[in-house]
Each structure stands twice: as C-alpha cells, then as structure tokens.
Symmetry: C2
Subunit: 370 residues, 2 copies
C-alpha cells in the first residue's frame, strides 16, 4: 500500500509552524500563563457591541456566512472611503497574504522582505516555491532603500513591508512610503501590511490611491479591534487585483459570527478610540517599567513595545525565558541585532504589574548566567 504522491514542492517543504501558540507553551509548562502579553493581541477585548453581536449570531451559526462578505465589504468601503470593489475580506491577514502569494508567485519567483520581518509571509512564499531575498533592518526600521534596491536587483514579484513594523514597533513617515511607491520597480507589487495602522500617530498614515495597481494594503480586526480570535482581515487595492482573489479564495471560509462581529466593531468608533488610548497608556507604562530596570524602550506606533535588553540575543533570550518561567508570556524578534530586544504587548494594569514584578528577577538571573 502506497501513500499519496505529494507534489515535488510539497514534498520539499518542512512541516514548519510560523509561531508556536501560547496554548502549546502552557501545555508544555503544565499551567497557564498569568499574563498574556506576547502575541500583540488586544487585552482590552472586542467592543462590547461586537461581543454582543457575535453572541447573538451564535444561535444562527447553522447558516453559512455570506460568501461575498457583502455587508462587511460595503461597510469597510464606506469607512475607508473607497468602493466595495476595492475591498477583499479574508481569514485574517495571514489568509490574505497566502492568497496574494498564490496569485503572484510561481516556483522560483523572487520576493523581497526584511530579515526578521513577519515569518508567516515567508511561510507562504516558501509554500508556493518562491525565493525569498532578505535585507537587514537599519536602525530598527525596515530599510526602504535596501528593499527597493533588492527588488530591482532580483526582479521581485512582491515586496513586503509592514508599517508600523512588527516586531520592532517602528514606522516610516508617510512621505517615505509614498516616495517608495513611486520608486518601486516595474512589476513589483508592494504588499503593505498595516495590521497596526490604527495606532499610528495623527497624520502618519500614508496617502496611497486605492486604485494604484502597484500596492495592496492589509488591515485587520485582530489588533486595535481586539478580535484576533475571530479571524477577519481585509485588503484594499485596485479592483483588478481585488477581484483576482475570487479565483483562489475559500469563498465560504469566513465565519458568519465573525462577519457579524466585525460589522458591529466597525460601528463602535468610541470603543476603538478608547482602546487606542489605553494602548498608548500601556506603552508608556511598559517604557516606565523598562526604565526602572535600566532598559530602554523603542518608540512604538503599535500595541506593543520592543524593549532593548542592552546586550546580545542570548541575553535577551535568557530574559525572555525568565519572564516565561514566571508566567509572563512575551515574545521577541528572531534576528540579530533586533533580537537584543524583547517584545511586550500592551497589557492590563494587572498584566503590567506582573511584568513589573517579574522583570527584575528575569534580568538578575540572565545576568548571573552570563
């Protein structure tokens, strides 16, 4: 008896996992974390109106969701000031990145990103046989000039940029993003991951015409809207590209409950503003805790803060391990020199009290190990 014949590409892929979830870590340690501030989730939760809409939709879950995501796409179009034809809804930005790669990347095609940027994008590129070309960060920011130069050099199909950046929290001036678009090589699509866009300072949103065929922008309900578990992301772009998603997407992939929740979340602007304010306060508190321990916090336009542990990656990994051991779930950048930092998501007061209590010991133990 023989098993299935995998494609050459599938056979060559590792059974890789872009991220180990906190639940797996909890199972391994045998007890739950006391603070969950590692995955850039929003501890401030979904809007109560969104939660109520999802709870109400639960009994109606016998019906498939609308495969066209009509109501949500139209509401998003109105909110973003674009046409519904410029909006595609999918199973989180992760799902939409996968579709984007599938539409554009054939085996051997070149793709450019930063070394240490979003691993799930890399997972998709590898998964479709694309060849990743990475350029280093520069001063803890993605290096636009280097990305553009590499894209031109390798004739990239896609160029990935997250703005604000994950995992560092840094961002580029709108003018820099707008200038980048103008300098993009012919035939390279800018994949602009704006998962954290709502946290940008006033006036820091780049102005990109939605029907500009050179870019697609991704947004999500997972961060500022506090709905990571609902899996709702969306893309904004020129109609021909947006329509192309209908060639490959899982048309019935969206949860009906999530559709209802996202619609309600979109209507609760007051809650969104409140979350953004709470996140800003939490960022300040994290920076304060860092400072109290002699560490520095990087500026952030996201719902997390990269804290520079002041030494190398091994030291930061030891600090991270010390926090995890004390029940504080955090993550950190994978690549040097960014891996001198740990990345702490905005938490509740209670979460950050735990962080404040745990960090000194984690640092002391890490220093003792050296």
């Amino acid at each position: 008896m023989t098993g299935p014949r995998f494609t050459d590409l599938a056979a060559s892929l590792p059974a890789s996992v872009p991220f180990v979830g906190p639940e797996a870590q909890e199972r391994a340690r045998g007890r739950p974390f006391r603070a969950r501030v590692g995955a850039n989730e929003s501890v401030f939760g979904p809007s109560p109106r969104a939660a109520a809409a999802m709870a109400a939709a639960a009994a109606d879950a016998w019906m498939y969701g609308d495969p066209e995501n009509h109501d949500l796409r139209h509401a998003l179009a109105e909110a973003e000031g674009v046409a519904p034809e410029n909006v595609v809804v999918g199973e989180g930005i992760d799902g939409l990145l996968g579709y984007t790669v599938r539409l554009t990347v054939a085996p051997g095609d070149a793709v450019v990103t930063s070394d240490g940027a979003y691993p799930t994008f890399n997972y998709h590129v590898a998964g479709y046989g694309g060849v990743l070309h990475k350029v280093p960060y520069r001063d803890d920011r993605e290096d636009i000039d280097a990305l553009l130069a590499k894209a031109a050099e390798v004739d990239a199909k896609l160029l990935y940029l997250s703005n604000p950046d994950n995992p560092m929290g840094t961002w580029h001036d709108p003018a820099a993003i707008e200038a980048m678009l103008a300098r993009l090589p012919q035939g390279t699509l800018l994949v602009l991951d704006e998962a954290y866009a709502q946290f940008l300072p006033e006036g820091a949103q780049p102005r990109i015409a939605v029907d500009d065929p050179r870019a697609i922008r991704f947004r999500t309900f997972s961060k500022a809207y506090g709905m990571a578990g609902a899996r709702v992301g969306y893309g904004l772009g020129a109609a021909p590209l947006i329509t192309a998603f209908n060639k490959v997407r899982n048309h019935f992939g969206m949860s009906r409950i999530s559709q209802a929740g996202a619609l309600a979340a979109l209507e609760d602007g007051a809650f969104l503003a409140e979350t953004i304010a709470r996140v800003a306060a939490a960022r300040e508190r994290i920076a304060g805790i860092a400072g109290d321990n002699g560490l520095s916090a990087l500026p952030s336009a996201t719902n997390f803060v990269a804290v520079d542990c002041g030494a190398d990656g091994d030291f930061a990994r030891a600090v991270l391990a010390g926090l995890l051991a004390q029940g504080v779930f955090v993550r950190m950048p994978f690549v040097a020199p960014q891996d001198r930092c740990i990345r702490i998501s905005a938490g509740t007061q209670a979460d950050l009290d735990l962080l404040a209590a745990a960090l000194p010991r984690a640092l002391a133990e890490a220093r003792a190990e050296k």
Copy 2:
C-alpha cells in the same frame, strides 16, 4: 504604472464562484427568502450547548485560537477512536479540500471525480492547475467502477467520492467502499467526503483503518451539528498525510469561537441524535409533499432530498425558479440527467409548509411554460 504580475496559472483562472449564496439571491430579489432549505444547512441549529459556548467565547475573541487545535483534535480523536495524529482540523471541508489538492496536485496532474459532484472540489483542482477527468453518475449514484477505471487510465493523483452523495443523497454499501479501496490504483489517494456521514443508516458506515495511506476522510460540523457558519471541518487519515497539512495550512485560520463551539457540540450527543431524527422526519415529509404533487423522492442518507421532477433539466429549472420566486430557497444538480431533480434540504415544519404551498404553483407554471 503596471499592476502585479500574476502567475500564468492565476492569470488563466476564471474569477469563478463555486456557489452563489442565498444572501446574494436575496439582494437580487430585494427581499429575504421565507424558507432557507437550499444549502443543506441544518435549520435545527447548533446544539444549545454549542451556541452557549460560542456566545461565551465571544468576549474572549481578543485571543487567537490555538493554532494546533489541540483540544478539539484530541476530543475528535477520542470520539472517532483514533490518535490525535490522525486528525487535522480546518476551515470547513472546503478549506481542507483546498489543502489536500495543494499538497498533491501540480499543474497537469490528473484528478478523477463524478460529473455533477461537488463543484468546490473542482474549483480547487482547477485552481492548482490539475486536470479533471469526470465520469457520469450511474443510477443517480457515483459510479465506483467507472471512477476506478478512469483513475487507473489517467494515473490520477486524487479520486473524489462523496458518500453519502451530494447532490443526490444516495450512498454506497460499506462493502462497496471497502472493496473500492482495495482496487484503488497505486498512488491514487481516495478523497472520501463524508460531510453527511452522521445521516447514514445504522451499519452503513464503511470500515476504513485510519492509518490506511490510500484514503483521507473528511467530516464536518456544518451539517448534522448545525454549525455551517462556524467553519469547522476535519480530516481523518494516516499520520504522514495529516502531518503534511502543517506545511501549507493557515495555522491561525480557525476562529477561537468556532473551536469552542465544536468542542461543546461534540459533547452533546443527545442533540445530535435529536437532529438526526428530526432530519429523518423532514425527509419523509418532503417525500410526502413530492408524492402529493405526483413527483418521486430519491432515497437519501443526508439532510436533503433530491426530488425527481419527472422531466428534463429545463423543466426542473423552471420548477426551481417558481419556488425561488415564492420565497423558497432550494438548489438543484448542475448536470444531466441528475438535473431532472431539485434538491430540498430538511426544513422546519414551517419551512415545509411553505414548500407544500409553493410547489403546486411552481409545477403548474413550469408545465404551462413547456
């Protein structure tokens, strides 16, 4: 300014939609349907315990779901009497079919199915450049001998069979499925879609060893469990194949709310049994309504009934249009001669009262058109 460069494959694909949703039809007609019995959803809803679990999980939707689906996979493994390594959970059977095709089908590879079987499977095969070879139904059932012969002839990577069958509701004896497996060509994977398995008569479940590398079976919470809108399907198969899904799946694709709902649904065996009994009663009522109108109902081991309208596809399409016009959402097979039938999902008493009231007029108008 140029747009993205699509792959040759993506450029060649139509922006096809496997199914138009009832919501789109409602938008086109300008008013809602009065009975929703066209998509084989379960009008009897999710288990109240599942609905309560989903409602309770709504406020926790700020957390990503466990990307390993650990608890649900373990509960399914226990319920199915297999190991967790034999279970993959995904965004509905649709999502899992897509991953299966992606793992095995390279452009030009042969895939075998029945003409008129599940179009979403065909959508995925076309989407990865596979070449579909279709054999006709025989006596309103998928033709196992013809499928096997075609698979051998074209050296198929995949052979799709739904048992019980959608859209006809028919099924094969377990011995026939088991014998099919033994006769499968080397290197052909049997994709056994068991979305409706819970509705099979006692003793009609084929016995297939879960670690048999020649088959993968798909089940879902969308039908008997009444949770189509939650998007939870699962596959059962040999561990090497199941593990391979980790190479390509959207690891964070599952809604946390849906994970909680599926777990609770699995624990409510009494509700499942009740739904199966209600569906059986509804099938009898649909057959009775058909009989009252001089039509015959096909035997069904699903939550729907194919009703033979007694003439050709054009006539059945006219009947269908008459029902839709009266607010009764139903669908029908796409391909002759099965398209002499319309397909009616199990409904509530009120749904079937509407069907009983609407069918005579739909038939009369269709006859007048001839």
